[in-house]
Amino acid sequence: MLDYVIGKYNFWIYVVLMMIGLYAMMGKKNLVKKLIGMNIFQSAIILFYISTGVKKGGATVPILMGHAQGHGHQAIDVAGYLNPLPHVLMLTAIVVSIATTGVALAILILIYRRYNTLEEDEILKIRKDTGV
């Protein structure tokens, strides 16, 4: 069991982080804490992707030296290079996550201006009292 956990520790870390994020989004009353939970959730997925590109045993960054001068038939040793694609995908995902955070923060400012609080239960109470 322990070997199972340690051998695939990257997946365990991502799952634990994701659950922390999910809990914060569902369980917390404060809207900023929900937002932070959302960020943890997204980061967990980014870590998952990046860890899938890793290769052990001296693999290095995928800059192909010596293959650039027309040695097309010469096979590239795939095991010698990390997989760059998950990393590149995550650049896009990071941009998306930053944009989401930005939009969410802007919405939080709107909420704070209107209700003067960021606690979900207080906002619900204010909305109930004013009958909206």
Binding site: K34, F41, P86, A93, V96, T100
Partner: protein, 498 residues
């Protein structure tokens, strides 16, 4: 020119969106004609694409000339070309309509509104056109992000609804992204056509099952499919009228499209139907959705809120058509994507026009609306008849195919649910029509002053009225020509393995 349409349909609105702040900074009034012109270009492109698909069959567009599966490919087949036409036509109509409503509801925010509006449409078109699962995620987030912002500028309560939507929508998108990650780990490919070739050899793998589960839940959240629709009623009903007229018909339909793509293109139908019991679960969820949506709609007095709950039930129809997983049911589901997009767009446009003129959406305060806004209410009545399912309006035909599909699958409960839902819709819409057409003026109103006896005709402005009338005419025409639409497009859009 013609072979570049798949690129133009994405690039033109995307680039044009970034020119809007510049144009608005120079002359604010020019934003509106600019947006309409851009959407005319996208509409023409989508017509060009569907024309190419219908004459030469499906084709793919390689971005930057990179061959799939390495490069990003735009895959144009009957289903995606069909969806492109729906999205670009309805967004054009809503854009024409938006002028007065935005001037009234968001007078200071015209420029950012139109920027986000075009970005949202770019995202929706991109989801439909792309043949790459990760590219789909990016477009999904482009559309969702602009959607969050557009909802947040709505009326009282909109920021809270928008924030809940951000949280739920991000969970949905992240689940989708995880599904993509699992598929990539297992197959090493992101291209839909390539995945469809590789995956059948590994259907027994647990990774694939988990990926499928993540995809399903993610899309269910994004498309507001029944138990995960909780964010939707508040978000869609508090958004500005022009925004809800755009997102209510299109966001849910595009998500339904993604569901069909994932279940029947990326995964083979035999996997989606036989390996996992997802179809049974989705079918029964749709069954509950149809009743829950209808009953919640009965409890509403706000017209827009009522429509949003009806939308929950309508999404249930499409999911039900997908879940019976036979040719007729799927034909019904795809036809209902088209019909429901028209009906929902028309209804939300009418609600926007009513709140523009009358200033209320309470269905008990709509007395004599047939005299005040005869054309708008005429369009509303046509759509209501279509929602109930009276021929020749288009709602009848998609419901007919859906019911035939459920009967063919032997799911009598589902067929009964579809019929009951027609009854619920009849009650819902005739309640509104009764208030608007037949209720006598209340004494309190009548004695309000001499003038209220004479109901002044006060029709919606022309830019609002024209799209409404076009949509209402479209509903009748789609009904009359539904046989042609099915025989020339939809029968090829249904996956061939059925």
């Amino acid at each position: 020119m013609a072979e570049q349409f798949p690129a133009l349909i994405i690039v033109v609105p995307l680039i044009a969106a970034f020119f809007i702040p510049l144009i608005g900074w120079w002359k604010k009034q020019l934003c509106y004609p600019w947006v309409v012109a851009v959407l005319v270009v996208t509409f023409i492109s989508s017509l060009g694409i569907i024309n190419t698909v219908m004459t030469t069959g499906k084709f793919s567009y390689r971005l930057g000339g990179w061959a799939p599966p390495w490069g990003i490919e735009y895959a144009l087949d009957y289903l995606s070309a069909f969806m492109l036409v729906i999205v670009s036509f309805i967004s054009l109509m809503v854009a024409v309509y938006s002028k007065k409503s935005v001037e009234k509801e968001l007078p200071e925010k015209t420029v950012p509104f139109y920027t986000l509006f075009l970005l949202l449409i770019t995202g929706l078109l991109g989801i439909v056109i792309t043949g790459d699962v990760f590219n789909l995620f990016v477009f999904l987030e482009i559309s969702s992000l602009s959607c969050y912002a557009l909802i947040a500028i709505g009326e009282e309560g909109a920021p809270i609804a928008a924030f809940n939507y951000v949280i739920m929508g991000t969970i949905g998108a992240c689940f989708y992204l995880l599904g993509v990650g699992y598929l990539y780990v297992a197959t090493g490919s992101l291209n839909m056509a390539d995945l469809a070739v590789i995956l059948p050899n590994m259907y027994h793998s647990k990774i694939i099952l988990v990926a499928f589960a993540f995809f399903t839940v993610g899309i269910m959240i994004k498309g507001a499919i029944f138990p995960l629709h909780i964010w939707m009623p508040d978000a869609y009903s508090t958004a500005p009228s022009a925004v809800s007229a755009l997102i209510a018909p299109l966001m849910t339909k595009v998500a339904a499209y993604v569901m069909i793509r994932i279940m029947f293109t990326i995964f083979q139908p035999r996997f989606s139907v036989e390996t996992v019991p997802v179809m049974t679960i989705l079918g029964w969820l749709a069954f509950i959705a149809i009743f829950a949506g209808g009953i919640k709609a009965l409890a509403q007095t706000d017209l827009k809120k009522m429509l949003v709950y009806i939308l929950v039930a309508e999404v249930g129809y499409i999911v039900m058509g997908v879940s019976v997983a036979n040719r007729i049911g799927l034909t019904g589901a795809i036809l209902h994507i088209l019909n429901d997009a028209f009906m929902m767009a028309c209804l939300f446009l009418v609600v926007g026009a009513i709140s523009y003129r009358i200033g209320t959406r309470d269905i008990h305060k709509l007395h004599n609306l047939n005299k005040i806004m005869p054309f708008t209410m005429g369009a509303f009545t046509i759509t209501a008849l279509s929602m109930v399912g009276i021929p020749p309006a288009c709602g009848f035909f998609s419901k007919w195919y859906l019911i035939l599909g459920t009967i063919e699958a032997g799911q009598w409960a589902f067929a009964a649910a579809l019929l009951c839902s027609s009854l619920i819709n009849a009650v819902l819409f005739f309640r509104v029509i009764e208030c608007a057409y037949f209720k006598p003026m209340e004494p309190a109103y009548a004695n309000d002053g001499g003038e209220t006896h004479m109901v002044q005709r006060d029709e919606a402005p022309l830019t609002m009225l024209v799209p409404i009338v076009i949509m209402a005419a479209g509903i009748i025409l789609l009904g009359i020509f539904s046989g042609n639409i099915i025989s020339s497009i939809i029968q090829f859009a249904v996956p061939a393995s059925f």
